[in-house]
Symmetry: C2
Subunit: 575 residues, 2 copies
C-alpha cells in the first residue's frame, strides 16, 4: 500500500502513514490539499510552520507513458501563496518502488544546525552529514552522491541558491541520463528545502518494488491506447521530439508575441540565431541528441543533450522559455552563451524563467548592458556565493527591480511572466492573471489554442472566449498534474476524442475503481479550490489577479495590442 | 492666497493653482486626499503615475509654536500603500513665504534623463542641471547648494539612496542650523523623488512674504496660550528638551519593551551605554548642545548637536529609535558608532528605523556578527554606491530578509517595526497592525498612555482598552499632522483640558473661520479614511492588519507576554 512519509527535519524522526484523508489524491491535488490543510497561510515560507510536500501522481509508478512527473508543494517564498512546482526526473518513478506516495518535510532544525543528506528506504529514514557537498554546485554534488550510492542513484538537491534560501531557488532532480538536470523550477521551493537544512534527498538505490495494476488486462489495453494517442498527434510525435520546446521560438516570434527587451516588443530581429531549428542544427553538428526523455517511460522525448563546441555535454532540459528569457528578452543571440546560462541555473539551482526576467530587469536598471551575454554569465555565477549581487539575482525579478530602481516589473503575484506577451496571446494572459500560482504559462496554456490551434482556434488578439478557455485549461491542467502526467500530453488530449476516457481507464484499471471524466474534472477543480482557498487565507484578493499596469498602457508591436481586461472580467476564469 | 504648485518633471512645466477642492486641508489631510484622488492605486510607486506631494499644515507659516512640520505623501515604494512621511526642517516654514501651500511633483522624465535642481520662486520654477551634486552625500551636496544660494538656503535633497530609487530612501530637509539633518524618513519617498529625477529642491532664498492671521488679536492670544500649554507639561518642557527622545532608552528598557537582538528580548544588558542620560553626558562633555529645534518656532527643542570625540559636529536629530535600532536591536553599545551610523543614514538618505531593523536581520542571517559596530558602519557606507550590498541595505528589512534567507522579519505592510516591542506595549502593537502607514509608532503613539501615563493609564501588558486607545490616538495624530504641528505637542494636549480648543482657536483666528473640536476630529478621521480607501484600492485587506506570527509564538522576557490579538479584534482600531 502506498504511504505518506513524514520527516521531521528538527527531531529527525520519521513516520510512515496510510493515505487516510488524502486517499485518492495524487500529484498537485495531493500537495495542494495537504498544504492548504496543514500549513498556516500566514506563516513565513522559511519558517518551521511551512511544509515541503512531494507527491507522485495518481498514475505515478504505473508504467503508463509520461506518468512520471513529481509535484512539489509548499507556501512559496517567491509569491507568498501556495505553490505546486512540477518536475521531471526519476524521483516520482522511484518513490512507488518504496511504496511511498508522498514525502512531507516538516519543522526546521535549530539555528546553526548543519545540512543533511536524507536517505530514504522502504522502512526507514537516515540523516547523514552533508558537509562534504555543502556549497557545491548541483552537478558536482550529484557526482559525489554517485560515488557513494552508485551511478543510477535517484536524488533531489538544493543547490547553492537553495542553501541560502533565495526565493527563486529550484529543487533539482536527477534524470535518466544521470544528471541533476530536472527542476521543480518555479516559486522558490528550493529555499524551503534549504530552510529545513536538507541539502540532498537520496532514494534507496536498491529499491525494487513495482506497482501492480488492480486490473492488469484492462490497464495493458488502456496503456497501449494511451501511447497511441500520444504518438498520433503531430505536436507530441513530431514537433516536440524534433526540436524540443524551442520549436516555439520561431512560432511565437512570428505571432508577434515573443517578449523582447523586458517586454518592449513582440519580435526579436536576431531570432534566427536562437530558434529551435538552429539549436537542433547545433546539437546535431556536435553529436548531441535532439530527443531525450526527462523520465523513464516518456514517449514524447522533448529534452535533448546539448554539447559545447568541444562536443562535451553542456546542458539538457534546454527549454523555449529559457532560450527566450536569456535570449530575446535580454537581446542576447549567442545560443552557446544561453545554453551556458541554462547550465549555470541548474548548477546553482535557480529558475531559468525567473532568471531571464531578472536579468532583463537588471539590464533595464543599468546593471548590465543589453545583450551582454558574457556579463550575464558572470552575474549568474555569483548566485549562491557570498557576493551580494548573487543574493539579489537569486531572489528574482521583483527584488532585482527594487535593487535597481526599475518600475517595469513583469510579474504577477511576485512571480515573473514567461515567454508569451499577454497583449498578443490574451488567453495565456488570463492564466497569468488568475492562476493561484502567480505568473505561469503552464497553469493554463492557452498558447495551444491561441497560436498552435490545438483544441480549437481562439484568436490570440481578441478578448473573445479567452476567459472560458483559460478556465477550462486551468482545470484540465490541474487534473493532468494530479495524475502525474506530463503537461505535454494535453496537446494530444485536446485533439483526440477518446483521450480523456483513456486517462480515466488508466486510473480505473490501476486502482480498481471507477474513475470517470467527471472525476477527472472534479480532481482539477478541487485542486484549484484548495489553492484559491489557501491564497485567500494568505491575504490574496481579486486585486492580485491583474497584470502590471504597463501592459495596459503600452501598445505591443507588431499588432499594437494592449492588455484590456478589468479585474471583474477576469474573475470568471477562477473555479 | 496660498496656492498649489504643480511641477511636471517630464515637460518641466509648472502651474500655480488655487486650492480648489483641497481648500481647508493641510499637511497629512492634504497629501492623503490628493494621493488618494489623483494617484492610481495600482501604479508602480516609481512610475510616472505616482505623485510626490509636499504640504504645509493648516497652521503652517502662522508662527504658532511647533507648527512647522511638513507632510510628504505618495504611494510608498516600501509598503505599496499610501504614505505620509512627516519632517521637520525649514521647508514648511518657508513655503508660505512664497504663498505656496503645497507642491506636487508629477510624471517622470524620459529614460536616460539627468537629475535636476528644481528652484522654486513665488512666480516660477526653474530646472537646473544637478550634475555637479549627483552622487554626492547629503551634507556635501547641501554645502554646494549653500555656495550657490547662500548659507541659509532652504533645501530638500534626495541622497545617493534616493537617486538609486531604493525603497528605504528619505528626503532630507535642511534645518535651522544649516544642515540637511531632518528626514521625511519612513516609506521610501526619497525613491519617488529620485524616480522623478529631482536631486534637490531649493526655495527662493529671497522669499519674504509672511502669512497674516485673519484675526490678529485672537491669534496672538491663542498663540500665547498654546506656548504656555507646551511649556507647562513635564514631557515637553523637561524630558524632551533635557535628553531628547533618547530619554526613552532607559524608560522602555525598564518597561521590558526595548527590542533586543532582532526582537528576541525586552531588555538590553548594556543599556547604560546608550541611554539618553549617557548621550546628554557625552554631548555636554564635548561642547555640543542638548537642546535644539528642528524648525524655527519650536519650543520643545528635542534635537541636539552631537559632536565627535574631537568636538566636531557629527549629527543631530539623533532619536531614540535610531539609538535603539543600531543599539539594542543589534547588540551594539558604542554610542559614538551609533551616532556615526545616524550621520551616515542622513548622508546617504535612508531611514534610520528601517536601517536598524535591516542591520539586525542581516546579522540574523549571518551577514555580520552581532554587535559588530564597525562592520555595521561599513555596510551603511555602501548604500548609494555601486556595491550591490548597498542596494540590499537601502531597500530595507524585508529585502534584507530575502537576501539572507531570514524568516524573522519584524515588519507590517512591508515597513519595519520601531523601538517598542508590541508584546509588552500592546497599545502601540495595535497601531503597528492597523495604521495605513505600515509598522509605525508615530501613527498612534500608545506608548504615551501605556508607559508614560500621559492621557490616562492603560496597562501595557493587558489587551484591555488598547484598541480604543490606538484608534483615538490615530485620529488625533492624523489631525495634528494635518495642522502641521509637531506630534510631540500631543503629550501636552492629552493632559491639558483646554489644549484642543486652543488648537482650534489658532486655526479659527489664522483663517477667519469657525474651526471646532469636531472639525479637528473630522480632519483626522477623513485623512485616515482617504488612506484606508487608497490602501483598499491598492489591494490591502484586513489580512494585512496583523503582526508577523513570531510575535504570537514566542514569549517576550521579562514579562513573558505574547501578541494575542485576532485580526477581527483589531479591526475596531480603524475608522
Amino acid at each position: 500500500m502506498p504511504r505518506i512519509l513524514r520527516i521531521n527535519t528538527r527531531t529527525k524522526e520519521f513516520k510512515f502513514e496510510e493515505l487516510g484523508e488524502y486517499a485518492g489524491l495524487g500529484g498537485r491535488a495531493f500537495t495542494s490539499r495537504l498544504v492548504n490543510k496543514e500549513v498556516p497561510a500566514d506563516c513565513h515560507p522559511l519558517s518551521a510552520s511551512n511544509k515541503l510536500v512531494w507527491s507522485t501522481g495518481v498514475l505515478g509508478g504505473s508504467g503508463a507513458s509520461n506518468s512520471g512527473r513529481l509535484s512539489c508543494g509548499a507556501k512559496s517564498p517567491l509569491t507568498g501563496g501556495i505553490k505546486e512546482s512540477n518536475s521531471g526526473g526519476q524521483f516520482a518513478q522511484t518513490m512507488p518502488r518504496l511504496d511511498i506516495h508522498a514525502i512531507v518535510f516538516e519543522d526546521k532544525p535549530e539555528e546553526g544546525a548543519g545540512f543533511s543528506i536524507v536517505e530514504i528506504y522502504a522502512d526507514r529514514v537516515e540523516f547523514k552529514d552533508a558537509t562534504p557537498i555543502v556549497g557545491m554546485d548541483n552537478y558536482p554534488a550529484h557526482e559525489e552522491l554517485k560515488k557513494i550510492y552508485g551511478d543510477k542513484v535517484v536524488t533531489a538537491l538544493a543547490g547553492p541558491a537553495g542553501e541560502q534560501c533565495l526565493s527563486a531557488s529550484t529543487i533539482q532532480f536527477s534524470d535518466p541520463h544521470l544528471n541533476p538536470a530536472r527542476s521543480a523550477g518555479r516559486g522558490g521551493l528550493g529555499a524551503v528545502m534549504g530552510s529545513k537544512k536538507v541539502k540532498a534527498v537520496v532514494l534507496d538505490p536498491a529499491a525494487k518494488g513495482r506497482m501492480q495494476p488492480a486490473d492488469p488486462e484492462k490497464f495493458k489495453a488502456a496503456r497501449k491506447r494511451w501511447t497511441e494517442i500520444l504518438m498520433g498527434h503531430p505536436v507530441t510525435s513530431q514537433g516536440l521530439p524534433g526540436f524540443g520546446t524551442a520549436i516555439l521560438v520561431n512560432i511565437i516570434n512570428e505571432a508577434g508575441a515573443l517578449p523582447t527587451k523586458n517586454f518592449r516588443g513582440g519580435r526579436f530581429d536576431k531570432v534566427a540565431d536562437i530558434s529551435g531549428e538552429k539549436i537542433a542544427e547545433v546539437i546535431e553538428s556536435r553529436n548531441g541528441k535532439t530527443k531525450e526523455g526527462c523520465h523513464t517511460g516518456c514517449v514524447i522525448q522533448c529534452s535533448q543533450r546539448y554539447n559545447d563546441k568541444d562536443g562535451n555535454y553542456l546542458t539538457s532540459g534546454f527549454e523555449y522559455e529559457t532560450v527566450w528569457g536569456f535570449g530575446a528578452n535580454c537581446l542576447i543571440n549567442d545560443i552557446d552563451d544561453i545554453a551556458t546560462m541554462d547550465r549555470i541555473c541548474d548548477e546553482k539551482g535557480v529558475d531559468t524563467i525567473e532568471m531571464g526576467t531578472t536579468m532583463a530587469v537588471v539590464m533595464d536598471g543599468g546593471g548590465l548592458e543589453w545583450g551582454d551575454s558574457k556579463g550575464a554569465i558572470e552575474l549568474l555565477k555569483k548566485i549562491g556565493s557570498s557576493d551580494p549581487m548573487g543574493r539579489i539575482m537569486g531572489n528574482g525579478t521583483e527584488m532585482a527591480g527594487r535593487a535597481f530602481g526599475v518600475d517595469r516589473i513583469p510579474t504577477v503575484k511576485g512571480q515573473s511572466l514567461p515567454a508569451y506577451d499577454p497583449r498578443s496571446v490574451k488567453g495565456v494572459g488570463v492564466t497569468y492573471a488568475t492562476t493561484p500560482m502567480g505568473g505561469d504559462h503552464t497553469a493554463g496554456y492557452a498558447v495551444a489554442t491561441n497560436i498552435l490551434k490545438v483544441g480549437g482556434d481562439v484568436d490570440p488578439l481578441s478578448k473573445e472566449g479567452q476567459v472560458e478557455l483559460s478556465k477550462n485549461l486551468q482545470i484540465a491542467t490541474a487534473a493532468i498534474d494530479s495524475l502525474g502526467l506530463c503537461l505535454f500530453v494535453a496537446f494530444a488530449v485536446l485533439d483526440t476524442p477518446d483521450a480523456v476516457q483513456c486517462m480515466c481507464d488508466l486510473v480505473s484499471a490501476a486502482h480498481g475503481i471507477d474513475f470517470t471524466a467527471d472525476d477527472f474534472i472534479a480532481m482539477g477543480v478541487n485542486a484549484l479550490k484548495d489553492e484559491l482557498d489557501f491564497n485567500a487565507k494568505a491575504g490574496f484578493t481579486k486585486k492580485d489577479d491583474q497584470l502590471p499596469r504597463f501592459f495596459s498602457e503600452e501598445k505591443l508591436e507588431p499588432h499594437n495590442t494592449i492588455w484590456d481586461y478589468s479585474i471583474e472580467e477576469l474573475q470568471a476564469a477562477k473555479v
